[in-house]
Symmetry: none
Subunit: 516 residues, 2 copies
Amino acid sequence: MYDTTLRDGTQGEGVSLSAEDKIKIALRLDEMGFHYIEGGWPGSNPKDMEFFNRIQQYTLKHAVVTAFGSTCRPGVEPARDANLNRLLEAGVKVATIFGKAWDFHVTRALNTTLEENLRMVRESVAYLKSHGLTVFFDGEHFFDGYKANAGYALEVVKAAVQGGADAVILCDTNGGSLPLEVFQAVTRVREELPDVELGIHAHNDGEMAVANSLMAVQAGATQVQGTVNGLGERCGNANLCSIIPNLTFKLGCPTIPRENLVYLTELSRYVYELANLNPAANQPYVGESAFAHKGGIHVSALMKEPGTYEHLDPALVGNTRRVLMSELAGISNLLYKYKELHLDKSSPEGRQVLDQLKNLEHCGYQFEAAEGSLELMLRKALNGYREPFQLESMRLILQMWEGQPIHSEAVIKLRVGEEVVHTAAEGNGPVNALDNALRKALETFYPEVAALRLLDYKVRVLQEKAGTEAQVRVLIETGNGKKTWGTVGVSTNIIEASWQALADSMAYGLLKEHKL
Amino acid sequence: MYDTTLRDGTQGEGVSLSAEDKIKIALRLDEMGFHYIEGGWPGSNPKDMEFFNRIQQYTLKHAVVTAFGSTCRPGVEPARDANLNRLLEAGVKVATIFGKAWDFHVTRALNTTLEENLRMVRESVAYLKSHGLTVFFDGEHFFDGYKANAGYALEVVKAAVQGGADAVILCDTNGGSLPLEVFQAVTRVREELPDVELGIHAHNDGEMAVANSLMAVQAGATQVQGTVNGLGERCGNANLCSIIPNLTFKLGCPTIPRENLVYLTELSRYVYELANLNPAANQPYVGESAFAHKGGIHVSALMKEPGTYEHLDPALVGNTRRVLMSELAGISNLLYKYKELHLDKSSPEGRQVLDQLKNLEHCGYQFEAAEGSLELMLRKALNGYREPFQLESMRLILQMWEGQPIHSEAVIKLRVGEEVVHTAAEGNGPVNALDNALRKALETFYPEVAALRLLDYKVRVLQEKAGTEAQVRVLIETGNGKKTWGTVGVSTNIIEASWQALADSMAYGLLKEHKL
């Protein structure tokens, strides 16, 4: 398992890792049991050099840090090539260098002869070997080269072996190869060079990087290069978060120690967090939705037997099963999710709530991300629920004078038990003013509202094309420091929709604090 | 090409399409040349029924609308099965029904015998056929079933054929199968049933859905089921936006008409927009980063020869090459787009507008869909523009009493030339009230405002996670019956953002009428 998140991964759009981030990720990959961590390209930028200097202060348990670079340039001896010498200065035991395996690239991009390219590959590998390094050779564009001129692509691989390469990695640099092509090409190299360790380095431009990596392994490759979450240029590199569990659980290949796979989901989210990217919810194995079930039939079968609609136990990769609520939900989803409410499938309340749910979703409500509103609805239907407050009236006044920002003021009148509270507040916008006024009104009765925080506010205009009279759906996410919950409101009036979601968000927060 | 975005796609977490959205997507898929569009599961929810009723009013050019359902239940005759009869009521010519192909599912989830399941499959297909429908049979969990008990899985397929199925679709329902397994299983079915049309329906739980679909085609399947952008439950369905170009350009298979592939990127973004999901930038073929190059070596080689680091010409799928770290390309486009304004890149006004544009985009403005606002900004900077009105003050009052809808009133004071107009209006929500008041104020001066119609109103919350103080972007689309234009506003206050976009929409409409 050869990780290149820190080098090829950072070529991805929007991916930027500080030297500190890179150190943190390297230490985490080491703990997980990765074999090789490609730290960067020494000399290409100051950040990579800082990484190689700093990582030497750590004693890694499993992983070997590698440095990336290219062969010497055309017409240059390896010993006089600045980039090759930088690899020697990086303080690593393993260097990975790439050379061109596609004749078109040699003549068009490098502007040199096919013979000279073979010399560059052979001598560059030999030079690094002569300095005591382990050397991996990345055959750039190997598969495109193989399709265009199989003989030459194989000669390049053989030149690396002649130079003493410890492994030859076949690269699908442009990411457009198909699984059967990869299988056939790797099989051929395997036959021609039975004693050489082979690797695969795939990109995802045809949405094939994971499949191509597996096919290469099935054809005899033993080293797999990829990145955490498939980060990388264009459509990304091969995603190790999918390759590792596929190899381990589906093909029974050794990868990282099996007991560490339960930290895979955590690793994925950690790297997203450091790279400041939003995790892809639908990412295989480790995504938030990867084991989330919405269809009613699926949920009812899952309750009998999880294997019915899951290809794998989510716990094996540290992920969890989730059951979503929506109009597609059967009653099984509700029962599973609200076990503690002792809802009975055949009870009139159960059916009534489900019908109400389907009707509301048809009108534009969405309860998947609004569990708070859903639970309040269930509790109201089950009669055991006392609302913590009720709205008597609300007024919002927004004023703007030329050249000045809008002034927003909210006035609200609530009943809390027997008492009436009438108060006002300003805010940065109408919803913020309402939020402030609501908290002010509730504070004296429920001091714990101070701990509730609005974390997210989303607006979706439904049935667009109706101009400003369209329906609006507001989703609010609130947290109390321990857990978070979503609430929803729908109306043609954005203020009314916001009020519904806001009132639910507070009511649900109080419910959880008070067990009302 | 069988699209199930409207049915299986909506099982995806966070995917919720209104009946109106579904109609729009179906019409777009038809224009693209898809062969089948699975509209929904009649009877499972009111939205799907509404879709089947409404779609009958349209004459489609290429596509046939299909309805999805299951076989009859155990122990029930097809003619007495409510769900099967719903398929007959949906008014479609093609029905796709699924049945279980995995023995474990038959005994554990369905709680019936293997024999009874074969009867259900055979008789359900025959029943729908006897009513004149074309019937596709989805063999649920076929690949898992084939691994567990190949004989029984094949018997299920044969039962469907005996019932008269027009095609049998092999489903990787749990999404965990590997490419070689799929290839081998489809090859076997092909051999056993050489005259039956085969299809593939794959899910992406192992990140293999696109690869598995291609392998099935290479083994003889001719129908591919999938969704736009791979939307779907858990990790999604097979992504048709990758499968179609892979089949077309890499394997030379017929899919949708080749000339329509240039609209593939547009289709992908349209569906994301209607589903209110953020497009995945690194999505193969159609993602914003799919042809974005960051590495210096890659960019310099690309300038010599695009094929060096691109597996495909992005124009073939309607996407574009991007070179990152160079915003200058966008600015050249701007100069090109507003040629008639004679904007000079090196003039002080030119520089000023470009700086303003960059700052505004950095603050969250987006002018791609707001040409109206952009042209007004350019004209203001170039001094030749006289504003048709100016705001002096604005007041919005929203009031709500318990159990009643919100009452919205707007008061505005404008200067139009030398005159001041002060007026008020009510509306269905705050923005509608503002819109009504603004029109009322302008009517006496510019009677042509009566012809301007707000067509679309969109709200995006930027910088989420800041709760109700987040920045909000409002995009408004307006038309005068001849052309349409977009305008934009950004503020922490949704009312202020709406006002900016609204004022621009009227000002731009008047500009075009008056040549002001």
